[in-house]
C-alpha cells in the first residue's frame, strides 16, 4: 500500500465529483430533503379515519353513542347514510374506511336491559389501519359498556353512581410508554430515517462511480498504471465515504434540532458506529459497480439491493420482532437492521457500546466482507 497513490486516486475522484456541480450538490441535497420530507410526512399514526353512519334508531342514546366516534380524533365524520346499501359504494370508492350501523330500537332495548348488536364495517385493504381502527372501536364500545353497566348496577342495587362505576370497572390500566413517552412517532421515525437515508444515497453515489470509468473506458488508464487493486479501491471509495460522513452529521443535526429528537446515548460511540455503517453502504455500491458493466444495470441492481431491504427489513415501517422466522432471517442478512437498533438505542434509550457491541460487530464484519469480496472481484486484467 502506497499512501501517495491512494491520495492521488482519491484526489482525482474528488475533483471529478466536484466538477460535476449538479451531482455534487445532489449528494447533499438528496439526503437532507429526504429527511425533511419523511420527517414531516411519514407518519404511521392511524388518525382521521373517514367514516359514515347509518342510524336506524335516531334516539338520544344512539346520538350519544355516535358522538363518541364523531368527537374522537381517530375518526373523521363524513355524514349519515340512509340505507346500508349506500355504504357499499362509499366503501368501494374509499370515500370512507369505516361505517357503523345502529339497529332500530337501540335505545329501547338498552333501557329495557337487553344487549344490542351494533354492526361496524371496516375496510380491510390496509391491514395495519384495519387493526388500529378495530382497536379504537373496541375501546369506545368498552367505555360505553362500562357506563351502561354502572347505570344498570346503580339502578338495580340502589347505590351511588360512583360506587357502581367502581364495581363495573374494577381493574384500571396504567399504561406507561417507555423511551418515547408521548409515543411521538417522529422521534423514533427520525432515528430510523437516518438509517434509511444513509442506506439509499451512498450506494447510488458510489455505484455509478466505477461503472462510469468502465463504460467510458477510462478504467484502462488504471489498468495500465502501477497502482494496485487495493489502493485503487480505497482511493476510489474515500471521497464517497467522506461525503457520507458529512451527511451523517447533517442528518444528525436535523434530527436533533429540527425534529427535536432527544439524544440520550454516547455521541462518540454513535458517530463511530455511523462511520462503520456508511463504509458498509458505500461498500455495497462498490460491489454492485464491480459486478455489472453498464451504469443502467448498476442503477437497477442498487435499487434491488438497497431500497427493498431498507424498506422492509430494517425496522423502519415493519417491526422486525413481528416478522415470521424466515423474514427475520432475511432481515439479519442486511446491515440496515443493526444500524436501526444502534440509532434507536442511542437516540431514545440512551444505551451504548455495552449493549450494542454485537450490532457494531455485525456491521464491521459486513464492511470487511464487502471489502474482501470487492477486492477479489476487481481485476486489473479483465478477461476477453
Amino acid at each position: 500500500m502506497n499512501l501517495s497513490r491512494i491520495v492521488a486516486v482519491a484526489y482525482k475522484e474528488w475533483r471529478e465529483i466536484l466538477r460535476d456541480r449538479l451531482f455534487f450538490s445532489l449528494a447533499f441535497v438528496v439526503p437532507a430533503s429526504l429527511m425533511l420530507v419523511f420527517g414531516y410526512g411519514l407518519s404511521l399514526d392511524v388518525e382521521h379515519i373517514p367514516f359514515a353512519v347509518v342510524d336506524h334508531d335516531r334516539s338520544a342514546m344512539s346520538r350519544d353513542y355516535l358522538h363518541r366516534f364523531i368527537d374522537s380524533r381517530y375518526f373523521d365524520y363524513k355524514g349519515h347514510a340512509s340505507r346500508e346499501a349506500e355504504l357499499d359504494s362509499l366503501l368501494a370508492d374509499s370515500k370512507v374506511r369505516f361505517a357503523i350501523v345502529i339497529p332500530p330500537n337501540f335505545q329501547k332495548n338498552l333501557l329495557a336491559g337487553r344487549p344490542v348488536a351494533v354492526q361496524s364495517l371496516i375496510d380491510g385493504v390496509f391491514p395495519f389501519r384495519t387493526t388500529a381502527s378495530k382497536g379504537y372501536v373496541i375501546a369506545i364500545n368498552a367505555a360505553f359498556n362500562g357506563e351502561l353497566l354502572a347505570n344498570y348496577i346503580s339502578q338495580r342495587f340502589g347505590i351511588s353512581p360512583e360506587q357502581a362505576m367502581a364495581l363495573a370497572q374494577p381493574v384500571s390500566v396504567q399504561l406507561r410508554y417507555l423511551y418515547n413517552q408521548e409515543v411521538k412517532n417522529v422521534w423514533s421515525m427520525v432515528a430510523a430515517l437516518m438509517m434509511f437515508v444513509l442506506m439509499i444515497t451512498p450506494p447510488f453515489l458510489t455505484a455509478l462511480g466505477i461503472v462510469r470509468e468502465k463504460e467510458s473506458g477510462s478504467i484502462y488508464n488504471i489498468y495500465a498504471s502501477t497502482i494496485t487493486r487495493g489502493e485503487f479501491l480505497i482511493g476510489k471509495l474515500a471521497p464517497y465515504v467522506g461525503i457520507s460522513v458529512i451527511n451523517v452529521l447533517i442528518l444528525w443535526i436535523m434530527a436533533s434540532w429540527l425534529f427535536g429528537a432527544p439524544f440520550k446515548g454516547d455521541p462518540l460511540f454513535f458517530f463511530f458506529a455511523s462511520v462503520i455503517y456508511v463504509i458498509c453502504t458505500t461498500g455495497i455500491g462498490l460491489l454492485v459497480s464491480l459486478i455489472v458493466s453498464t451504469q443502467v444495470a448498476a442503477m437497477m441492481l442498487t435499487v434491488v439491493i438497497t431500497i427493498v431491504p431498507s424498506v422492509l427489513y430494517s425496522g423502519l415501517l415493519v417491526p422486525i420482532a413481528s416478522m415470521d422466522p424466515r423474514a427475520q432471517f432475511e432481515a439479519h442478512l442486511f446491515p440496515a437492521m443493526y444500524y436501526t437498533d444502534i440509532a434507536l438505542g442511542s437516540f431514545l434509550k440512551g444505551i451504548g457500546l455495552e449493549q450494542l457491541w454485537g450490532r457494531v460487530l455485525a456491521l464491521a464484519i459486513y464492511a470487511v466482507a464487502l471489502w474482501i469480496l470487492s477486492y477479489l472481484l476487481f481485476h486489473k486484467r479483465p478477461r476477453s
Binding site: V29, A92, P115, S120, F126, P170, L178, F204, V304
Partner: protein, 386 residues
C-alpha cells in the same frame, strides 16, 4: 396526395417500430439489467410475503406481586398469536433491564392484594410498561393489552354480581359485531406484495426511460439520432413504449405467477381495466423520467434526481403509510402524485372489484395529471434538440 399521406403514415409508424425494437434489443443485451428486472417482479415480491405489520408473539414479562388465582388468570390471557409470555421476573429493575436490551416488548406489573381488592370490590391498578421506541409495535401492544385487561375487568365485575352466560342476555350492553371487508382476515400477504408491485412499477417507470434517454446523451449516440430523419417524438416515444411493454409483461408475470398462485390474492375486478390503468400510469410516470433525463447530463445525476422524486412519491402516496395522518400541506401535494390515483384504482380493481362507475374520478385525475406530466417531459426533451 392521398397516396403520399398513407405512405407517410406507414413510414412514420415503421420508424417508430424500428426504434422500439432497437430499445428492446438494447435492454435485452444487458444481462444484469434483465436479471434485476426479473428479480424485482418475481423473487422480490415473493420475499415481501413474509413480512407482517402485526403484533406477532410479542414477549411479555410479568412482575406478579400477588401470586393469586386472579392474577394468574389475567396473565394467562396474554397469549399467542399476539403475545407470548417471556417468564416472570422477581423485581422491577430486572424487568427494565430486559426492556432496555429489547428482550421484551412489554412488562405487566400486577400489584399486591390484586385478588383481595377485586373480591372486595375495590378499584385496583394494573401497570403496563410498553417499549414504544418502535411506534407501531408499541401502539399495537398498548392497545391490545388495554383491551385484554379491560375485558378481564368487565368479566370480573359480571362474575362478582353473579351474572352467568345465560343471564347475560339481561344486561344492557353493546355487542360489537365488526365485519372486515375486502380482506376479511386482514391478511398481510395480500396487502404487502401488491403494494410492493405498485412500488416496483413506479421505480421502473421512472428509472428505465430516464436511463435510456440519458445514456444516449452520455455516450453521444444522440447526435446520430438527431441527424437521422427521425423527429424528436420518434426518438422519445419508442423509449417509453419499450419500457412500458417491459413493465406490463413484468406485471403480468408477477400477477399470474406470484400473486395469484402463491398468495391467493383474489382478483375481483376486471383484469383488462387493471392493465389499461397500469399502461396509463406507466406512460404518465415515464414523463417524469423524461423530465429527469433533460435535467441531467450523466446517469449519476439522473439516478440521484430519480431518488429525489421517487422516494417521496412512493412513501407519501398512501400505500405504506396512512395518508389521513399526514400534515395538511403534504396531503394536498399527494394529489400531484400519479401513484396516489394508481393506488386507489389498483386496490379498488383487485380487491374491491370496483369498475369504471366508481373509479372514474381517479381515472380522470390520473389522465389529466398524466397528460400534463408527459407533455411537459416531452416538451422539455424536444427543446434540447434546438
Amino acid at each position: 396526395m392521398n397516396k403520399y399521406f398513407t405512405k407517410g403514415v406507414i413510414l412514420w409508424w415503421s420508424r417508430l417500430t424500428a426504434m422500439t425494437v432497437k430499445e428492446l434489443l438494447q435492454l435485452g443485451r444487458d444481462w444484469f439489467l434483465v436479471f434485476a428486472i426479473i428479480f424485482l417482479f418475481t423473487i422480490d415480491i415473493l420475499m415481501t410475503g413474509n413480512v407482517r405489520l402485526e403484533l406477532n408473539h410479542a414477549t411479555v414479562i410479568v412482575y406478579d406481586a400477588d401470586h393469586s388465582e386472579a392474577s394468574r388468570e389475567l396473565i394467562y390471557r396474554f397469549r399467542p398469536p399476539y403475545f407470548r409470555l417471556g417468564g416472570e421476573i422477581l423485581d422491577e429493575h430486572e424487568g427494565i433491564q430486559l426492556l432496555d436490551q429489547g428482550q421484551a416488548l412489554m412488562m405487566l406489573n400486577i400489584p399486591p392484594n390484586f385478588q383481595h381488592d377485586l373480591l372486595q370490590g375495590k378499584p385496583t391498578d394494573v401497570q403496563v410498561l410498553v417499549d414504544t421506541s418502535n411506534t407501531v409495535l408499541g401502539f399495537l401492544a398498548a392497545s391490545y393489552s388495554a383491551q385484554i385487561i379491560g375485558q378481564y375487568g368487565f368479566d370480573a365485575a359480571l362474575q362478582r354480581m353473579g351474572v352467568t352466560e345465560k343471564s347475560l342476555e339481561n344486561i344492557p350492553m353493546i355487542v360489537d359485531q365488526h365485519r372486515v371487508w375486502y380482506n376479511p382476515n386482514q391478511n398481510d400477504q395480500w396487502f404487502i406484495p401488491i403494494t410492493e408491485l405498485l412500488t416496483i412499477i413506479t421505480v421502473l417507470a421512472i428509472m428505465l426511460p430516464a436511463a435510456a434517454a440519458v445514456r444516449e446523451k452520455e455516450r453521444g449516440t444522440i447526435e446520430q439520432l438527431i441527424v437521422s430523419p427521425l423527429t424528436p417524438v420518434q426518438i422519445l416515444l419508442p423509449k417509453v413504449i419499450a419500457m412500458t411493454l417491459v413493465i406490463l409483461v413484468g406485471t403480468a408475470v408477477s400477477l399470474f405467477l406470484v400473486l395469484e398462485p402463491v398468495f391467493h390474492i383474489p382478483i375481483k375486478g376486471s383484469l383488462l381495466l387493471f392493465f389499461a390503468v397500469t399502461t396509463l400510469y406507466t406512460i404518465a410516470t415515464s414523463g417524469l423520467g423524461l423530465y429527469i433525463a433533460t435535467m441531467s447530463r450523466n446517469l449519476a445525476q439522473a439516478a440521484m434526481l430519480a431518488i429525489l422524486i421517487l422516494m417521496p412519491m412512493i412513501f407519501l402516496s398512501g400505500a405504506w403509510t396512512p395518508p389521513e395522518a399526514m400534515p395538511e400541506g403534504l396531503r394536498l401535494a399527494m394529489y400531484l402524485s400519479p401513484l396516489y390515483y394508481f393506488i386507489e384504482m389498483g386496490y379498488g380493481i383487485l380487491f374491491k372489484g370496483a369498475g369504471l362507475d366508481i373509479l372514474w374520478d381517479s381515472l380522470l385525475g390520473l389522465s389529466l395529471l398524466g397528460t400534463v406530466i408527459f407533455t411537459f417531459g416531452v416538451w422539455r426533451f424536444k427543446r434540447q434538440f434546438r
